[in-house]
């Protein structure tokens, strides 16, 4: 194992606190600690922190006792009271509850098909709308759920059952009961979030649920950090370098245009190969990335998805547009470019693709797209392993449910459903710029290729 960076050393120090480092990693950590005062101090601070945390919390709470002794009688009387109140509520407000349910159904019929099940992911293809769930008085009663909470859980479960890549291996009736049980007593949609997360974690490793609060925070972050620049330069005289970052902080059109503009600026008659840097690309929209990198990727089939029934769909980069082919039928064309697509001075170049643990989602789709291309070699570290296609569904309160619907495939139809290992493992020692050993490994390989000799 190569030498560790300070950041890696910190991560290993914390992982070691859980016994999660391998003997090789332990050895690398010891070597690093021997020569690094700052990381030794960090390790010592972490040890002290653990001791301080335990001591402070025990000192604070160990001596405290409950004010009243909990007995069977006090508990059963509380349960009886709750039951009486519930029955009273049921009788006195049955009419009002019925009206609420009717209003909810009307609301659902009018709004849900148009808004709630609309996939918003850029990766997503046309998706069937699941049937609008019907409020169930039985479930509300059995799990003490409000109509809003029951409808919310039902909607989320319907989406999962209709779209998840693992939908055929789940025993849905039992699974639904389990999820409802976890939502026991929920009154509002937010009370059901833990149950929905539980459901998602059970059926998919890569699916996730985002609350409206998180979305608001992320939107604020995007508003605070709008970006329009793409990094690109010449390495030496003959190798072009382009960084392909996540699209999350960019407008999709700005991203695709800025990427092609940067490639145009770096390219020249002397450029004989390209380094495509996907390190730290945590994903985002696959469309702007494929179009932005189109001049280097070349015309034709790029990458695609395989669905649970075995059918395949591909993205084709054709003259600056992204065309979607589903089971042999060409459909959607995405256009991002404001100017004619750029073509390299020397098309179909050799390409060194750089990856690391931070390369995920659409970033990995780009790695796969380049894998299907001849004259490509990858360098760096394995990717995150989120090689899946997803669809995002917006729920009634603005929360988003991201469901994994397919696995990624390359242009040859090879399925990738785990981490992507680079052809050549190279560790980053922390130096910047051209001295970056991963860039250097890519450049060295490119200079050995026929076009650069």
């Amino acid at each position: 194992m190569s030498e560790l960076t300070h950041l890696q050393a910190k991560k290993f120090i914390q992982a070691a606190m859980h016994g999660l480092v391998s003997p090789i990693e332990q050895e690398a950590l010891l070597i690093h600690l021997n020569g690094c005062v700052a990381c030794r101090q960090y390790q010592s601070q972490m040890r002290a922190l653990e001791g301080r945390l335990r001591h402070a919390m025990h000192a604070r709470w160990d001596g405290q006792k409950p004010a009243s002794v909990l007995t069977f009688d006090s508990l059963t009387s509380k349960m009886r009271l709750r039951s009486i109140l519930k029955n009273f509520f049921n009788l006195a407000t049955a009419g009002a509850a019925l009206v609420t349910v009717v209003l909810l159904v009307v609301f659902a019929i009018q709004l849900l098909p148009a808004q709630e099940h609309q996939p918003v992911s850029e990766i997503a293809m046309t998706t069937e709308h699941p049937a609008t769930p019907t409020p169930s008085a039985e479930l509300m009663e059995r799990y003490d759920l409000s109509p809003e909470a029951q409808l919310y859980v039902a909607t989320a479960l319907d989406i999962m059952e209709s779209h998840s890549i693992n939908r055929d291996i789940i025993e849905w009736p039992a699974f639904r009961e389990e999820v409802y049980r976890r939502a026991y007593g929920a009154r509002s949609s937010s009370d059901t979030y833990a149950a929905i997360r539980f459901a998602l974690n059970r059926i998919e490793q890569n699916g996730y649920f985002v609350t409206p609060q998180t979305i608001a925070q992320e939107n604020q972050l995007v508003e605070l950090q709008p970006r329009s620049e793409i990094e690109g330069r010449l390495v030496g005289e003959r190798i072009g370098y382009i960084q392909i970052p996540t699209t999350r902080y960019y407008d999709p059109e700005v991203y695709a245009n800025a990427m092609q503009d940067r490639i145009r600026q770096v390219d020249g008659p002397q450029v004989c190969g390209w380094v495509v840097d996907l390190r730290g690309n945590t994903g985002g929209g696959i469309g702007p990335m494929l179009v932005g990198a189109g001049p280097i990727l070349g015309e034709g089939m790029t990458a695609g998805f395989q669905y649970p029934d075995g059918s395949k769909a591909f993205w084709h980069y054709i003259d600056g547009e992204l065309v979607f082919e589903d089971s042999g039928i060409f459909e959607t064309a995405l256009t991002y470019l404001k100017r004619p697509a750029y073509r390299l001075k020397h098309p179909d170049p050799s390409v060194a693709v750089l990856t690391d643990f931070g390369t995920a989602g659409a970033g990995e789709a780009l790695v796969i797209a380049f894998k299907g291309k001849t004259g490509t070699r990858s360098f760096g570290q394995p990717t995150a392993g989120a090689t899946v296609g997803s669809s995002t569904f917006m729920l009634s309160d603005g929360a988003q449910l991201v469901i994994i619907t397919s696995y990624m495939i390359d242009s040859q139809g090879v399925v990738y459903n785990s981490t992507l290992r680079p052809d050549q493992l190279v560790w980053d020692l922390g130096q910047a710029g051209d001295q970056d050993p991963i860039i250097q490994a890519g450049v060295d390989w490119l200079l050995e290729q026929e076009r650069c000799k």
């Binding site: 991560k11 914390q14 992982a15 859980h18 999660l20 960090y42 010592s44 601070q45 972490m46 040890r47 002290a48 922190l49 653990e50 301080r52 945390l53 335990r54 001591h55 402070a56 919390m57 025990h58 000192a59 604070r60 709470w61 405290q64 006792k65 409950p66 004010a67 009243s68 909990l70 007995t71 069977f72 006090s74 508990l75 059963t76 509380k78 349960m79 709750r82 003490d144 009961e177 389990e178 049980r181 976890r182 026991y184 007593g185 009370d191 833990a194 149950a195 997360r197 539980f198 974690n201 490793q205």
Partner: protein
Amino acid sequence: MDSTNLIRRCQAGQAEAITDLILQHEKRVFRLALSILDDAESAGEVTQDVFVAAISGLDGYRGEAAFTTWLSGITINICRKRIRKRMARQRLVKALQSIFQVKSASIPNLENTTIKRETDAAVMAAINELREIHRLPILLYYYHDFSVTEIAQALDIPEGTVLSRLYTARERLRLTLDAELLSE
């Protein structure tokens, strides 16, 4: 008596078994609620609510996670609801204070309890400054000695997320606390 048998008897509605179950888990539930709410009175009330919810929903317990983990999940959910209510009440009191310019009413506050040792006080203050998503894994791991797997089950999040939240929480605590406090 093993807990599976005890739970089966509780599910059959045997009063004696329910009492045993309460006795067996009451302290643990109270301590967990206390560490989240930092208020003994509220923690006592939550303990009652937890057993009411647990016994009402006992039929749904299928033994996929340990019973204590299942009970911890219920405790955490009820505590979260109470925190939300408390925050709403604090916001209301704050708004009323600004309107009527009166002094604060007595609301259970994380800082009310006297803490003798300055070091512990500083550590507790730093813990209380953490966001809930980071504070809970720290409490469960360092005070309740939950494993990463148990925390994941109790909070309904993947184990990797637990590890990353612990990592972030420790980093924030380290940066917040004075370096002198962390010298061994």
